[in-house]
């Protein structure tokens, strides 16, 4: 059983490593062009020459998925960073200052929680406009509340510990105690959450891409790929099924890894 779990985790890391490699050096995995296709080879099913088949204008779908990795991964990275930085900042402020500041910040967090994630993202997009980065920021804003809650509760927990009291007792100021003791000891839980949010962010970004608010065509963003394949569901199943499976496997792996991070602490 534990061997199974370890194999699963190893596979998850392998998937993530491959996708990161796709994002950094896509040309190592495919020699074809993601943007211009060979019209004569349009709508071919998966074969050795075209692992994932070809689309309506003869572009190799596998090539497009490989080149699309950079959009999804960097988008998820931006989203998680926005959520992590803004959320942790709010949470640490609320947890360490307490009182009115705490109450005000947590009511703000309540508001963020009260609006469904997708609607919140759409509100940000209507504000910032369409595009890859804007979609990523929109998704990131949606995760601020989760980061703020976790980091606040961690800070509150650490602040009650004896060594923090001892540090105050030996004359340390609030900001130095925060930097030396509270922050380092609160971050583990936040890192675990960041890993979990990474998978969620990939899903959310592909959803925005699918709705047409993310990367503009002909960029091979994963959600957009599936949206473009929609018109061919009756005849060319591979155009939607295969990119979608890639998303599922990547998100599943990210979630698996975040679970293992959560367990180790």
């Amino acid at each position: 059983m534990s061997a199974d779990i370890r194999t699963g985790l190893l596979l998850a890391w392998l998937v993530v490593a491959i996708v990161i490699a796709w994002a950094i050096v896509p040309w190592l995995f495919t020699g074809q062009d993601p943007i211009s296709g060979v019209p004569a080879e349009k709508l071919q099913g998966p074969s050795l020459a075209h692992l994932f088949g070809t689309d309506a204008i003869g572009r190799d779908l596998f090539t497009r998925v490989v080149h699309g990795a950079v959009h999804s991964l960097s988008g998820a990275f931006v989203a998680v960073t926005v959520g992590l930085v803004a959320g942790t900042l709010l949470g640490v402020l609320a947890g360490s200052l307490g009182g009115v500041v705490d109450a005000a910040i947590m009511r703000l967090v309540d508001v963020l929680l009260a609006i469904p994630g997708l609607l919140l993202a759409l509100s940000i997009i209507i504000l910032l406009g369409f595009g890859t980065v804007n979609a990523a920021i929109a998704v990131g804003v949606g995760s601020i509340a989760a980061f703020a809650r976790v980091s606040r509760s961690e800070v509150v927990r650490v602040r009650q510990s004896d060594y923090v009291e001892a540090a105050f007792g030996s004359g340390a100021r609030l900001h130095s105690v925060l930097a030396r003791h509270v922050l380092p000891n609160s971050l583990t839980a936040v890192v675990g959450l960041a890993a979990l949010q990474f998978g969620t962010a990939i899903l959310a970004i592909s959803t925005l891409g699918f709705l047409g608010y993310g990367a503009p065509p002909p960029m091979p963003e994963w959600g957009l790929l599936i949206a473009e394949g929609r018109n061919y569901v009756a005849t060319s199943w591979w155009l939607t099924v295969l990119p979608g499976l890639v998303v599922v496997v990547v998100v599943l792996s990210a979630n698996r890894i975040s679970q293992s991070l959560g367990r180790s602490r």
Partner: protein, 312 residues
């Protein structure tokens, strides 16, 4: 009673902040939506005419006055006018609501049934490997993009198996796949919580006592375990309703159905701020009300809490 007042006040504060935040953010749009729509040279409107239009939308007064005006409107159920269609927002929402309510209502019921079935099967199924497989199913389902699930369902059930017609489906048939698309991702977290709480309750001492008294496994499960295990699931009702609204946006777009979700998608595409603002506030209102209801109902469902509250 004091508790009720406190929770209601808190809910109202959240709504008020949500409203102010959306108002400030959405009004702060670069070049307001009215100008974007009417300033294009093709329409050939004179600056005076544009000023008239702005006045008719109430966009020519100072922001604070606009704010108070909008607040007064929202409280009376008047959400202003759609910039895209020129019709009152409450009419747009009113005509879109029944379709979405049917979809979301059926989706919610299906999700609960799926989750309960999955949770109980994953503790009852005969073989270890089968239980393990059922246990890991929710983890898989939360990793599936909703829009992709919808497309795959169309592919399998409409084009491969030809069970549900794509064209000329009657209203009931047309609901089957959208409801499944909406329900499956929502059932996953619910099933996870249920399975976990079934495990916990089964280890509780009172279950051991009931077993020792000679109760069969079926009686133990339905009378003693199920009733206690279903409780924690109630707490995520608010989150699930929020996911229903987000899911409706995607599902209605994939299946080309009219409804609140489609309205939302088009509002974003057309920068129709008043429509989006109204939908966001209504969604927040639903979330707050559902959570308030859960908080109030929970002590009734679980008498232990009431006793604790009295003792404390």
């Amino acid at each position: 009673m004091a508790y009720l007042a406190h929770r209601t006040a808190q809910a109202l504060i959240v709504l008020a902040i949500a409203f102010t935040a959306t108002f400030v953010l959405l009004q702060a749009l670069p070049g307001d939506a009215i100008l974007i729509k009417f300033e294009s040279p093709e329409l050939g409107l004179s600056p005076e005419q544009i000023a008239d239009i702005r006045a008719s939308y109430g966009a020519d007064v100072p922001p604070l006055q606009q704010f108070l005006h909008t607040v007064a409107g929202f409280v009376q159920g008047d959400f202003g006018y759609s910039v895209q269609y020129g019709t009152p927002v409450h009419e747009l929402i009113g005509s879109a609501l029944p379709d979405t309510l049917a979809l979301a209502g059926l989706g919610f019921v299906t999700a609960v049934l799926l989750a309960v079935a999955l949770a109980f099967l994953s503790t009852l199924a005969p073989f270890g490997w089968l239980r393990q497989a059922l246990r890991s199913l929710p983890g898989l389902l939360v990793s599936v993009p909703v829009f992709w699930l919808g497309i795959v369902l169309i592919q399998v059930f409409s084009f491969q198996l030809r069970l549900v017609p794509v064209i000329g489906a009657d209203p009931v048939q047309a609901l089957i796949l959208p409801v499944l698309t909406l329900a499956i991702p929502i059932s996953a977290p619910l099933a996870q919580i249920l399975a976990r709480s079934i495990d916990e309750v089964q280890l509780a001492p009172f279950v051991a006592v009931v077993r020792a008294k000679g109760a069969g496994p079926a009686r133990v499960l339905w009378r003693d375990v199920a009733r206690n295990a279903l409780l924690p699931a109630v707490t995520i009702a608010g989150v699930l309703v929020g996911e229903l609204i987000g899911g409706a946006v995607v599902t209605e777009t994939v299946f080309g159905r009219a409804g609140i979700g489609r309205l939302t998608e088009q509002a974003v595409a057309n920068q129709d701020v008043p429509v989006l603002q109204a939908i966001v506030i209504l969604a927040a209102l639903v979330f707050v009300v559902v959570n308030l209801a859960v908080d109030l109902v929970y002590p009734v469902l679980d008498p232990r809490l009431k006793r604790k509250a009295v003792a404390a």
